[in-house]
Point group: none
Chain length 199, copies 4
Amino acid sequence: MDKRRAARIDQVLNAAADCFVEFGFHGAGMAKIAKRASMSVGHIYHYFENKEAIIAAIVDRESELAAERFAEFEEVPRDELVHVMTERVDEMVDSKADAFQSVLNLEILAESQRNPQIACIMRQHDEEVRELFRSMLKDKLNLPDAEARTELLLSLFGGLASRIIRHPELDRHTLIPLIKQVMHLALEPCDKDDKRKSE
Amino acid sequence: MDKRRAARIDQVLNAAADCFVEFGFHGAGMAKIAKRASMSVGHIYHYFENKEAIIAAIVDRESELAAERFAEFEEVPRDELVHVMTERVDEMVDSKADAFQSVLNLEILAESQRNPQIACIMRQHDEEVRELFRSMLKDKLNLPDAEARTELLLSLFGGLASRIIRHPELDRHTLIPLIKQVMHLALEPCDKDDKRKSE
Amino acid sequence: MDKRRAARIDQVLNAAADCFVEFGFHGAGMAKIAKRASMSVGHIYHYFENKEAIIAAIVDRESELAAERFAEFEEVPRDELVHVMTERVDEMVDSKADAFQSVLNLEILAESQRNPQIACIMRQHDEEVRELFRSMLKDKLNLPDAEARTELLLSLFGGLASRIIRHPELDRHTLIPLIKQVMHLALEPCDKDDKRKSE
Amino acid sequence: MDKRRAARIDQVLNAAADCFVEFGFHGAGMAKIAKRASMSVGHIYHYFENKEAIIAAIVDRESELAAERFAEFEEVPRDELVHVMTERVDEMVDSKADAFQSVLNLEILAESQRNPQIACIMRQHDEEVRELFRSMLKDKLNLPDAEARTELLLSLFGGLASRIIRHPELDRHTLIPLIKQVMHLALEPCDKDDKRKSE
DNA sequence: AATGAATGAGACTTCATTCAT
DNA sequence: GATGAATGAAGTCTCATTCAT
């Protein structure tokens, strides 16, 4: 019976995610969510106290999913890590091109600026991701400034998503090598050249 | 007479921007906008046909402002360009930390995914910005793949904004040098090393 | 088996009375009643066809209880009756100060004005009470106008309840002697003085 | 223009009072109130922030009205006061028989037990009424225990209303003289007889 | 007997928009 | 140009009630 409950909750969450992407957190009405979940409006309130609670659950689920996507790097042995990560850039760009994920992320970011509860959930997950990257960079690759490098990489990945929204036709073929260079820069010890240049 | 009209419109636009940041495009009601603009609800409809028209105007104004911020690089002589741009990183990070601008941008990005009119406005401005960068990189710095380099830079800048939302306490001191390195990478001819690595 | 059923019904009735006092007949939801009765919502409908039926049962039970409270006077011998009744004023005032009973009574009175079924139940019980008083006054105390005297007493008692709601801090010490005087007036043959005054 | 506003507010208040009497505070929906006020649902919210605010306004208006009804006694010269008051009993009983007023009062009393704001409004008006009576009894009639006598009278009047609900057919002809006796008792100095009896 | 999932109507409230003044 | 009264649809949420288990 608990399984049925979980399935029902997922039904709502999936429908809600759809609607949120299509109309935004505040543009999507409970009626639309209910219809897409093939469920009565009232019954949704047996599983979620609030519309906000649905949003929070979506944020939680989506953030967790995003964190899991990074988690697979943890099992990669250290001498393959750089190679594996750079090789994954192509599919990462593809994933960023997924409008569904991107819009949901934007919505979450925007909402987190007005809803402290959302901000809290989002930041907890971000901390996990950061810690995961940081420990990889520091422990596996022996890199200094692991935090800053992490921020650089996450900036780049996050920025990619908004770039694709602003310019969907961008030429990935020529961009991807550049991204890989930045990743090498972030994943390898600074050589003297770089240091000189940055001063 | 026309000046008064323009001032009135700005009054509305400023109030609207405030409200949109605080409540989101769909969370902000015309009543709140009117009150913050010290204007009657009905009168706003003398200047804007729609709430959507207000949103569109905001998007237009905001995008133009963003483009102008980049435009100042056009007047920098070519041998100072790299230096000037990298030196500006600090204030750029500061500007990304401005919640007002960031939230407005997120809202615009999200809205552009559901409102084709908004998407159109936003993309036109993005094209301007891209063209500006592209011509700088190509004509002033003689760089190949100017489009891709532009995308890389814009990705980085855009990603910074979302990073600061997700992790407001991030240590800018150690991140900024890294960003500068990436900028050098994007603004200078690829050396053989980099090429080898990226393969 | 029937005993269990009665206990279950009482469980519901007690919970319902609680909720009705706290939220009113229309403000109390079946869900709250069910929770306070430690019973499922659906199961309540095995014992009561309706929410209205619960209300009716409450009205019945409460009215019966009120009638029983008066019934004890029946066993008092006639020459002690006046004395016993006046001596009970203190505890009567206390009982009227019981918010639970008072609110329930108000709710019942108000509901009886819109729900004929409730009105019917209530009036049947009132008739019992009236008859009880009337026969006491007439048969035991040989008083004329027993009906009117009954109404006077019941008015006074009923009015006390609303007074305590409107003015909870009222000074009972000085009020109670006055009430006793009125009771004497109602429970003793009119003397000539009174008759003269009332003309 | 302010006159129009007041008229509109009265329109709502009258419609609301009607509905509250017919369905109770919580049984009456905004839709019904709006329809009876010949006004759109939404527009009511231009005049009242809340349904609660409407209830509060009704309570205020009704209580004020009730207080005004007593206020006319203030202008009666002292040697006619007792006579005038007892002569008014007939119409008072009639007014208590007005279902509209009675139900509204019950609703108010019941609501005041759960809504502190309502309780506050109601008690302020009750204080006015009490003070009016008290000063009459003390200053005009030189009576001791003016507060207690006031409470006795108000109890009697209030109780009359609930009696008429419980027993609409009660014989007023024989009751009214009794009431007048009680009023005399409350409005005249205690004689020794009464004192003896009440001990 | 007992549960709680499920429904759809209706609760209060807010919204974008129009219109008379 | 400017106001704010006015509307009705749609918003979120709760309700009494039923039904499969």
